[in-house]
Symmetry: C2
Subunit: 543 residues, 2 copies
């Protein structure tokens, strides 16, 4: 379905970028059209600019010929749509060739990057400089983009876990091709550009997060000085009824600053999917894994109903005091609480085998799960969590995991709820009820974003190769959204399948549409992204 | 200069608000037209709506008759223009009657307020509830608006000192009269509306800070749980050369989280102006107070070249460890370092008189200066710092201080600089040189906003009743801006006299103009606020 406008645009892009960077090969297009759930959007081309100037050119051409572009940094937005554009017949603007680290300052603790810079790349950069600074990492792929995640307002595990709150100085190419810089960056020779978020006058950074108002081509990320002392803590609850008390205690510690970073609490299903694939053999091929069977697995694998982790950062005495306060706060509320540091971890790794031989306790299995989490608390990216996307597959995950390619089904639903025990327990119960009824395991993790709010990330994991599962998973997603909204909870981030959640067709929506028209008069940048699809179009989407 | 449009608008406003709330009395207009420096803007009327609905009405009428309105919450924006609008012939939209505290939650630690709610009002509210939560306060008047200060991105002294970063869930009336809510507030029954900053989709809060895009009629403010233990620390440097080392040490402590709140460092001139008025008698009426004379006063009054203060918050052990780290970091870098807590303060107050009688040391003078600072570190508003606006007056400050009314001259210039010792010292030297040459005392305070950036607040204090001083002070302000910009430093906030600093006539400025036209097609909301005055208009301003 390539029409004249597209032909003209492709010709202009080829002239601008060089033919090899305007990709229309069916295999390549098929790859970017594929995500971890059913979509019908088609992609006519992939553009691969190498510089901010080329990004501007791409947008100017798109505006001239009125053909839409969808920016993608690394395309690893798994569970939310990967690189699939929000509307059909949209070309991909692949920013992965803009992969330079533009500035770095050890004393003032920041790094300035382009959108193609990945978590792994920054980690290697810091290691090669023997830097004393830590980055924050998410459990997403090490090869996911720092800017991509930040603009989606993703979060990680260290005190710098709120990525958007620890970024500043954006360079943004507007849909018209104009380029602006935010904060102090826009002033000549501004010494505080990488050091201060707001700048002078209205602060525009928020406008370019979770929107389709511009393409971010540069961003400064604040880095955390490595603490003199680091310890992780891990805890376990064996009863569902313990959740409320634990959430209350931890949110108070977070509110009071004893816990400086997000605490993650995962339920049994979530932990099991991190350890192994679906037990097809033992369940006789039936799904979902019932609550009763899950209980049996908990016992066998020594998993709690809930398992939590967090990090302590500071001087040895600051960490010791935090440890004391956590022990006191969780006393009688958890079944196990353990602290881990570098020394203890390396000892455990060394003696896991002899311990197993002597006691029969398989420490190495615990470490398989703990080690990546422990690393994340220190800002080290890991590919371990991606493995759980293969939960319902009948074959084991390959070495080069790629959930999109491998037919993994994964839909994330992430409502934000108040950090109270009562609401956490209510939400947990509602999710479990809906998901088990719909035939999926209720995999839930709760992240204490601050002392007031919890991000509840729910994974619908399935096998796209099983007929009907795509539809059943999407129905389950809708049931979850509907129920959560009824209860007063709303997503913190949206997948490409559900952008209409953002719009209530009220004066706010009207303002957003006006702003969009102002910055993007031709409507060419990521149409449908964080905006409702007009009904007439939705009905005719696909081809 | 009231024309037909204005007459029609006034009639409509009177019908909407009631005649007594549309004020055109010359004395009232004269008061709001007066600030702490020379302005020529005239105000044709003051509107005093009592509700958000009336605010909407006021804006609809303004849009209909194309007459401009300038929103003012409490009018205490001293040093930056008080309630004087950015352009002439603009009516004041006085929001002080919207003074309700709409929501409060002790467990989740927040309060939701209207724009008329003042610092003092919130403090009394918390005290009356016997709340265990602390607010953050600025050194501005206790009767200044919380929303006004937050939307100007003001800062205070506790760990919640970045007011804008600790607010969310805005209700905003747009210039057209439409009303929107930001963050999760815009969704029905959203439980996390007061608990999470970003919400879903583009985050618009920044758009309404330091701008003329909307009137904020509601905001949630996060409050801080009172720590189990609080101590303040105070230090003094007797040599100018010590500044760099102190800034380096403190910014590292701030970056590493040992210091959770802003540290304020004030120079000798700043401290002196807090203690007394200009020594007219001893200087024989000559100004400025030279560096040599300042040195003599330092010796006589036991003031350091720099004096600093900060707060420690936590459990007794957390505070003890912070104290140890501060002692170690400042060792050999300051001449005095003292810690103060509630017990020590009440003892000192009790024994100040006998100590003076016995030793001759006037402890009470020190306490006069320390006590309000100590209170600010605990979030207690104070009117003490306003006294220094009377520095150059020939008569003592009255009990009911009002710098606007009393002819106090005050211009604030507040560039943000990197938190490095070298740059702090360079900026200090440049400011002192310019101000002394221009005939003013270089009153400087440095606030470590975070571990990376310092807000440098410079006060030009003078007596408006002295002929020619208004012009000399404004010239000095321009010299400071010019030199700072050359060095790469830019204001964090602007006075009404200097809004053109915000605009560089580039693609950013163009985008801002487009956005303004979109939200305010009639151009009636605070024209000229955080936007450059077109040259043609500037030439004809005044009347």
């Amino acid at each position: 379905m390539i029409d004249v406008q597209w032909e003209d645009a492709l010709t202009a892009w080829r002239a601008s970028l060089g033919s090899e960077f305007v990709i229309t090969h069916p295999a390549a297009l098929s790859a970017v059209q594929t995500t971890t759930f059913a979509t019908r959007q088609s992609v006519p081309a992939i553009l691969r600019p190498a510089s901010r100037q080329q990004v501007q050119e791409c947008l100017r051409i798109a505006t001239r010929f009125r053909v839409p572009l969808y920016p993608v940094s690394s395309g690893k937005n798994w569970g939310y749509g990967s690189s699939v554009p929000s509307r059909t017949q949209t070309a991909i603007l692949d920013l992965s060739r803009l992969d330079r680290i533009l500035d770095f300052n050890e004393q003032l603790a920041y790094v300035t990057v382009e959108p193609g810079v990945t978590q792994a790349q920054l980690q290697e950069f810091l290691a090669s400089r023997k830097s004393n600074l830590w980055m924050d990492a998410t459990g997403a792929s090490p090869f996911s983009s720092l800017i991509g995640n930040t603009m989606e307002r993703g979060f990680g595990h260290t005190p710098y876990g709120d990525h958007f709150a620890h970024s500043c100085g954006l360079e943004v190419v507007l849909p018209t091709g104009e380029c602006i810089e935010t904060g102090y960056s826009r002033f000549p020779n501004a010494r505080s550009a990488p050091l201060h978020r707001w700048g002078l006058g209205a602060s525009l950074d928020g406008l370019f997060s979770q929107s389709n108002f511009g393409v971010v081509t540069r961003m400064t990320i604040w880095l955390m000085p490595a603490p003199a002392c680091f310890q992780a803590f891990f805890f376990r609850c064996d009863q569902e009824s313990q959740l409320a008390g634990v959430v209350e205690s931890l949110s108070q510690l977070r509110l009071r600053g004893t816990l400086q970073s997000a605490v993650h609490i995962g339920n049994d299903y979530k932990v099991l999917a991190g350890l192994q694939q679906y037990p097809w053999h033992e369940t006789g091929g039936r799904t979902p894994l019932s609550a009763e069977l899950m209980a049996a697995y908990r016992k066998r694998l020594q998993i709690g109903v809930w398992s939590g982790s967090g990090g302590l950062y500071g001087t040895p005495r600051q960490v010791a005091e935090a440890r004391r306060l956590i022990r006191a706060a969780l006393k009688g509320k958890v079944n196990r609480l353990a602290f881990l540091d570098d020394r203890l971890l390396s000892l455990s790794l060394r003696y896991a085998k002899p311990i197993r031989l002597l006691t029969g306790w398989d420490l190495s299995q615990t470490l398989t799960l703990l080690q990546p989490l422990y690393g994340l608390l220190k800002g080290l990216p890991t590919s371990q969590p991606i493995g759980s996307a293969y939960w319902r597959k009948r074959t084991p995950p390959p070495t080069d995991m790629n959930p999109d390619r491998d037919g993994c089904g994964l839909l994330w639903f992430s409502p934000v709820i108040p950090a109270t025990g009562e609401e956490a327990a209510q939400v947990r119960a509602a999710i479990a009820e809906i998901m088990l009824a719909d035939g999926f395991e209720p995999m839930i993790s709760l992240t204490l974003l601050n002392g007031r709010a919890i991000s509840c990330v729910v994974s619908i994991c399935y096998d796209r190769e099983v007929s009907g599962e795509d539809e059943r998973a999407m129905a389950c997603y809708r049931h979850l959204v509907e129920r959560a909204n009824e209860m007063g909870y709303y997503s913190y981030r949206l997948g490409v399948q559900s952008m209409e959640e953002v719009d209530r067709h009220d004066s706010y929506g009207e303002l957003m549409r006006q702003l969009k028209t102002t910055v993007d008069p031709a409507g060419i940048l990521a149409p449908g992204r964080y905006e409702a699809t007009p009904r007439t179009r939705a009905a005719t989407a696909g081809h």
